[in-house]
Assembly symmetry: D2
Homo-oligomer: 291 residues x 4
Amino acid sequence: MVRLKFSIELHYEIDPPGSDFIFSIHAAKTRHQTVVSESLGISQNLLPNLSTDPYTHTRYLRLQAFAGPLTVRYDATVDISHHTAAPAQIGEVAVANLPGSVLPYIYPSRYCQSDRLHRLAVKEFGHLWQGYSRVQAIRDWVLNRVVFRSNSSTGNTSAVDTLVEEVGVCRDFAHLMIALCRAVNIPARFATGIDFGADPILGPTDFHAYVEVYLGERWYIFDPSGVAIPMGFVRFGTGRDAADTAFATIFGGVRGSAPLMQIEAIPDAKGTLVVPQHVPYALSTDGQWGA
Amino acid sequence: MVRLKFSIELHYEIDPPGSDFIFSIHAAKTRHQTVVSESLGISQNLLPNLSTDPYTHTRYLRLQAFAGPLTVRYDATVDISHHTAAPAQIGEVAVANLPGSVLPYIYPSRYCQSDRLHRLAVKEFGHLWQGYSRVQAIRDWVLNRVVFRSNSSTGNTSAVDTLVEEVGVCRDFAHLMIALCRAVNIPARFATGIDFGADPILGPTDFHAYVEVYLGERWYIFDPSGVAIPMGFVRFGTGRDAADTAFATIFGGVRGSAPLMQIEAIPDAKGTLVVPQHVPYALSTDGQWGA
Amino acid sequence: MVRLKFSIELHYEIDPPGSDFIFSIHAAKTRHQTVVSESLGISQNLLPNLSTDPYTHTRYLRLQAFAGPLTVRYDATVDISHHTAAPAQIGEVAVANLPGSVLPYIYPSRYCQSDRLHRLAVKEFGHLWQGYSRVQAIRDWVLNRVVFRSNSSTGNTSAVDTLVEEVGVCRDFAHLMIALCRAVNIPARFATGIDFGADPILGPTDFHAYVEVYLGERWYIFDPSGVAIPMGFVRFGTGRDAADTAFATIFGGVRGSAPLMQIEAIPDAKGTLVVPQHVPYALSTDGQWGA
Amino acid sequence: MVRLKFSIELHYEIDPPGSDFIFSIHAAKTRHQTVVSESLGISQNLLPNLSTDPYTHTRYLRLQAFAGPLTVRYDATVDISHHTAAPAQIGEVAVANLPGSVLPYIYPSRYCQSDRLHRLAVKEFGHLWQGYSRVQAIRDWVLNRVVFRSNSSTGNTSAVDTLVEEVGVCRDFAHLMIALCRAVNIPARFATGIDFGADPILGPTDFHAYVEVYLGERWYIFDPSGVAIPMGFVRFGTGRDAADTAFATIFGGVRGSAPLMQIEAIPDAKGTLVVPQHVPYALSTDGQWGA
């Protein structure tokens, strides 16, 4: 079991007459991810609206903030007891047998135009054994093809752009991998968390985007950007792509500065310290059928 | 109450080794739409997998078909007892107060890039009263701007393309209206049905795409293409856009011919015949909060 | 020397009040391509405006046609005495040494977004010897990657689309090859002619689009679609891409039917018949420096 | 007559093994724009290759620079004696009557997809009198629709993007205006110079992009971004769009800093000082037929 302690601090300056926010910065509560403790601080006197998506477990915090400065701070300690499995024993699921709740993740979405990549994906990956190793091949293909460069993409950059221009940040790697998976009928979704273990050369700790793929009977974790350590991913939100799970969606005139974030592995209740590391087996923080 | 009787017949020729299908051709069962009778005929000896999305009520039929010819025929008689309301009394809902299940419909999606249309939408519609009439203004703007022309778009055509090129079919009108609604934070979704009442000059009866917008406490019907009669829409599927609710999504090598469809208004159980017509009030086939 | 005899017949129905046309259906007159005889027939009583671009030798026929039916027929017999060279002896030209008239062909154009393909092109072709064989490698890459399928693209389809979707017609193969050449600083242009020698399975004789690349001191012919025989290409127009050299650009409401075309190799003035065939050496119909 | 004195200083740090540059920073020499004096300074010991496009008069400076620092400085004094005309007397030219050298400017180009805007342009501008005032209407439409914001676009931003997103810099205003002109068959081209008279709030003196439109028998100046004073435009390059006339096109690994530029109106040879101002008549620096 991994115990991670982290904090996120967000600062905004809001124009009159105020602004609505939807944040996705709370740790999800899943069968394999437990929130040991958490606290939320808001600098304005607001009534937060916190709701949980029944299927994805994503927790959405909605605020109606006044004009002026706003600080939102979230602290949490989370225990992750991964479901693990041997890659060679994890197969794909035929479209006909997918749970209904998984179906939306085989369709194209805003940033993942899988419909346009069908021919390419079949040519590159259509002949491979239909299981975890095929998804790993897609992940490696993306990682080898795309160059990581900070600030190389915008909010409008999609999987097709990244395929063509071969440069991006973690969000773009994730979108391209998702689009390629869906193009060969493998359900894939966008997940957000923190980049535990990322090389400091990439800058201070930041939000991270990665991929979850539905295989066997649950969602498994993949990190196509290769910059972080999957075993250290605290899951916040999941969705069809970045449109659904931005850490902050803002409705109004607002200026923000870079988030301040920290994360560390700490000893668990028994005093055992497990530091996340790269492992050769498949990881999931979901229960069976996404429950 | 409106009683509609319709049939849909689909013909395919499937390449070896067979193909998976996901159909969305069943009438949805909602608080205001009742399926009086229905029957499904499949020419191959297959076990159909029929599931219902718990939130949208969309019914998905999945088939694993063999190579060779396949005919799917669906017949149904449906009663629609619309929820109606006076447009002047239907307001919008602030983002902070939207039901969690409605949130996905304010985000951009594959064919509805609302994120790119924010400035345009605010300029055109930002100053209007925030209610049904604003949505009607968006609908009229789309109808006035875009020209209906059969076969003028492809499966890759999106709201941005339609905005630029100003030509399309019902699907394209719907995508552009949805994108503009979301760009001013109004939840909007894509709905499919049959084009009851469409001008025969447009060809034989066909599938139709229209829009549902979340206002007050439920989803209301709009027809931005203006070619059909909303009171006669039998709802099949709803989703974020056409990616989610194609009448047939096909996984494999398949050739199809044009669907054969018929629809007519018939007398209800009491022998009363109500023929759908254009009405000056708002229509919904949903219960409160989408239930 | 190759002697080719061909005819092109175009039929239009023009809406009131008439329409302007720009045709590019005349054989270019170059140092290596001689027009032995030609005739132009126009069914309306019009004054044709025929001009020649001084650099590309493209001949533009402009007509101001009346409403009603219009038939344009062009017949010609052309001698082509190719400049030939051994591929291994043809090098690229450094940007600093390109003739000024060639410079426009290293910049991106409407359908050839070479600026977006720089990283991909450098990765795939940057390490190769800088000469004819590198261009041949680009041509082969495009041919291997893209599938030829009639009616698979539209007038809006660009090199980026073809790279992503991997399907197209000769125009699309040409655009992608041109974009990749320019992305590694090799001047490339779009050329039009007739598809001499194309497999009849692709339909009746039609216009063809191919590529000319500036190497050594002249423009060499490449056929990325692989469907025709370069030695049999009668050159009509050249330009930056299909935007410049459509066989017909139409300004007004017009309906047209498929062009009727025929081409055959015939004996030359000395009675010798040379039938175009695939050859292992480089071909050009241009003089030095494009003169 | 206006006499303008300006300087441009460019600094680069070039990676091994060196880099090719194509600059377009020399004042064009036209019938109405005379270079009184000019000087070019290059910090490396290089042989500059300066060529002039015979039709556009654009002067291209090509350098093959070594790795290390490079400074290029250009100083010039230029006399502009504008051709002026009354807008009401300037008509458009029918496609059939355009000089051959003007034809390329009615076709779409990399950043000006006029082919996609035909329907919109005809609807908005098709009914207007075909002359200078129609072009002015297009210019005003663009100016009213698009918001000027520094750093709001990238090198990939095109007229279609600017139409959709309604924000940009001078380059984007120019591209959209050009695309709309061409969409109604009016030849339009991209021109570059310095932003004489721009509001200092927009930052220090910088390169400027504007539009030239072919009307009557010559190219007239328009400034769709509205940030500068057309009478003060020293013309450097013209082309189909920004792809052709970047002030610097760089082939290799190079880092650059912001250009240092200055421009001022000075007394002419007779001691008369004319300061550029907004004027109610049409301006051109071209001779008849672009000569």
